[in-house]
């Protein structure tokens, strides 16, 4: 028991004893005890009243000056109150810091609940998305950002990448939006103005497309003259070898320019590829025959057609996918090696694979293989006359079909390239029957 309590108790007992003693001498024990107790009660009541009044107006009034147990209570209340004030100030300060920080951030930030209701956003988000403070709180984000691409992004639920939409207020402005999950089901929407990047990207694509077209015509002229010179018998035989080399290099350059043009065409065509019915079996049979007609080809080129299903897509692009992958396999396989081409379908969709017993690719090269002009072995690739763009074209064309490319390879053992086409790209058997 604290000293204040002992003192209070002692006082009460003392008052009681004195009252009893005085009452005993006066012969009115009961009355005096009642009077003293009533006085004690009144005193406490008065203090309780003052305490309550002070608690009510504690912001402006000084605390009452009590002694004893009441003083202790006041001191305790004061301490709790001060501590609370301190925490509150700190929280307010932290909150202000946070607000200042998010305002200073160049990106827009929207805090959303699990139901995608807006809970808070910073000034940049308000500016970029034309949201209105307070009014738009608790409004669902997709009610105000109604761009179909954004709704699709939200309903797909794959937030690993950002989605780019046009701003509703200014159609020249491009915004990149990304959802980041955090806390208990809460989500953060990051908004960034990517107009400049998009414009630069468009300029780069235009440049590549224009440059390739500009290069093609002079190249055709040069190649034509080189051809004519090579056939000319009056030319000194010493020039024969250089002319042949010139012819080879001109051919290679033409291949690179053609690949560049095809790549920029793929990049320029927006959205998904078309829905032509493609006879995969026929196409692959033809491609195999072309390989066998080459001067130098692997001894065995096998074709396994395990499905008669046709593919829905752009015939030209699918042809370029298949021919690029097959010619790569043939190029990197020794004459005594073998190449297996396979086409099959299952519940996941259609699959095309090319396996070779060629040189293989070291593990560290795999992730960068589809970059344009990426060379595993620069010297060798030049000798075989590749454009360095084949796999980049394959990747882009596959993307336009919603398909993915899988690469497995072991150095010295060979590689396998597999394309996985989604089910919606595989023509159903009934459709096949109807078309036959």
């Amino acid at each position: 028991m604290s000293p204040a309590w002992s003192f209070a108790l002692a006082r009460l007992v003392g008052a009681f004893a004195i009252a009893a003693l005085v009452g005993y001498f006066l012969g009115e024990v009961q009355l005096t005890v009642i009077v003293v107790l009533a006085g004690y009660l009144a005193l406490n009541f008065a203090r309780l009243y003052r305490l309550e009044r002070w608690l009510r107006r504690r912001r402006t009034e000084e605390p009452p000056d009590f002694r004893g147990i009441w003083g202790d209570v006041v001191a305790l209340v004061m301490r709790i109150y001060r501590r609370k004030q301190f925490h509150k100030r700190r929280i307010v300060q932290l909150f202000r810091e946070f607000r200042r920080m998010t305002t200073a951030m160049p990106d827009g930030v929207v805090v959303m609940s699990a139901e995608r209701e807006i809970q808070w956003f910073n000034r940049n988000a308000a500016r970029l998305l034309s949201l209105r403070r307070k009014v738009d709180y608790r409004q669902r984000i997709d009610n105000l950002l109604r761009q179909p691409e954004f709704s699709r992004y939200l309903s797909d639920g794959d937030y690993s990448q950002a989605v780019v939409i046009r701003s509703a207020a200014n159609s020249d402005q491009h915004l990149s939006l990304q959802v980041v999950a955090y806390g208990a089901g809460q989500q953060l929407l990051l908004v960034r103005d990517v107009t400049r990047q998009i414009r630069l990207e468009a300029m780069r694509k235009d440049f590549v497309a224009n440059a390739s077209h500009e290069l093609r015509s002079p190249l055709t002229v040069i190649a034509g003259y080189v051809d004519a010179l090579a056939d000319d018998r009056s030319i000194d035989p010493a020039w024969r070898a250089p002319l042949e080399e010139m012819h080879r290099q001109a051919e290679r350059m033409r291949a690179v320019v053609d690949a560049l043009i095809e790549l920029s065409r793929l990049e320029a065509s927006s959205g998904e590829a078309g829905n032509e019915l493609i006879d995969v079996a026929g196409m692959l049979t033809l491609l195999r025959r072309e390989v066998l007609a080459l001067d130098r080809h692997p001894r065995e080129v096998e074709l396994a057609l395990e499905s008669a299903s046709k593919l829905l897509g752009s015939e030209q692009e699918v042809h370029s996918i298949f021919s690029n992958l097959i010619s790569n396999a043939v190029k990197y396989t020794a004459p005594d090696g073998r190449v297996d081409i396979r086409w099959w379908t299952d519940g996941a969709g259609g699959h095309f694979s090319v396996r070779d017993t060629g040189v293989g690719i070291a593990r560290e090269h795999l992730p960068r293989l589809t970059e344009r002009f990426y060379r595993v072995d620069p010297g060798r690739a030049r000798a075989t006359g590749g454009s360095g763009l084949g796999l980049a074209i394959v990747k882009h064309a596959l993307q336009r079909h919603g398909a993915t490319l899988e690469i497995e390879s072991e150095e010295g053992e060979g590689s396998r390239f597999t394309c996985h086409f989604p089910l919606r790209r595989v023509a159903a058997r009934t459709a096949l029957a109807a078309n036959d």
């Binding site: 209701e117 209105r132 009014v135 738009d136 608790r138 409004q139 669902r140 997709d142 009610n143 105000l144 109604r146 761009q147 179909p148 709704s151 046009r166 509703a168 159609s171």
Partner: protein, 241 residues
């Protein structure tokens, strides 16, 4: 008025139903907005492929309208909503009709765009149409925003903008008549341009209708076919009392 407060309901499912159908309307609105923007872009940039794409996309708008309509009928039949909920459903049923018509007008513009793409473009590159299109898009966008926020004041403001659109249409029409009189060879194209302008002007009318439903939804007042000044006076008086 608080947007999310569509009235207290014993049944949480009911609230979810109402929210769901509201979201769908706004989703449909978003798609229609895109159709309109792309249709106008197809015309101005002479992109026949984009025009055909927009024209093909119109069936989606129709499908959305049918789905939302069915959903509304289901809510009316099974939940028997009253007061503000009933107004919400009624307003939605009307709004989607107007949205669907906006979609039809966009389809019309897209058709004309893909046809005009093969012809030589005029020197001014459809500057007037671009401006008119911008106004119409803005109206549709703001109208849908007002619907999402249940903002009757904004809705009334948008209703006023319709007049600007009408004036612009008048001036384009006059301009086209001048062209046709000067050079009869341009009649075909000028007629098409008038058709596009007419479609955009109609889109403005539909956007105005949508805004009128927002006012109806919020205040329970039918402001169709009344002068806007009277409406504002009346609403202000109602707000004061």
């Amino acid at each position: 008025m608080d947007v999310t407060e569509l009235g207290p309901h014993i049944s949480r499912r009911f609230n979810e139903d109402l929210e769901g159908v509201r979201n769908r309307v706004l989703q449909m609105g978003g798609f229609v907005e895109q159709q309109l923007t792309q249709a106008v872009a197809a015309l101005i940039e002479g992109d026949s492929r984009l025009g055909e794409e927009v024209a093909r996309g119109d069936h989606k708008v129709n499908a959305m309208e049918v789905t939302i309509d069915e959903e509304c009928s289901r809510i009316l039949a099974t939940r028997a909503p009253a007061a503000s909920d009933l107004r919400l459903i009624v307003a939605i049923i009307k709004t989607i009709t107007d949205l669907e018509r906006i979609g039809d007008e966009a389809e019309k513009i897209a058709y004309i765009a893909s046809r005009l793409a093969t012809m030589e473009r005029p020197a001014d590159r459809y500057r007037e149409i671009k401006h008119l299109g911008r106004l119409a898009q803005q109206m549709v966008h703001d109208g849908l925003d007002a619907f999402a926020r249940l903002d009757a004041d904004a809705a009334l403001r948008i209703c006023r903008e319709d007049r600007v659109l009408d004036d612009e249409f008048e001036s384009i029409q006059r301009q086209c008549i001048t062209f046709m009189m000067e050079d009869p060879r341009t009649i075909r194209r000028a007629l098409d341009v008038v058709w596009v302008a007419r479609a955009l002007e109609r889109i403005g009318d539909h956007a105005k209708n949508m805004c009128e439903y927002v006012v109806y939804m919020v205040h329970g007042k039918d402001i169709r076919h009344t002068s806007l000044d009277d409406v504002e006076k009346e609403l202000r008086a109602a707000g004061r009392s």
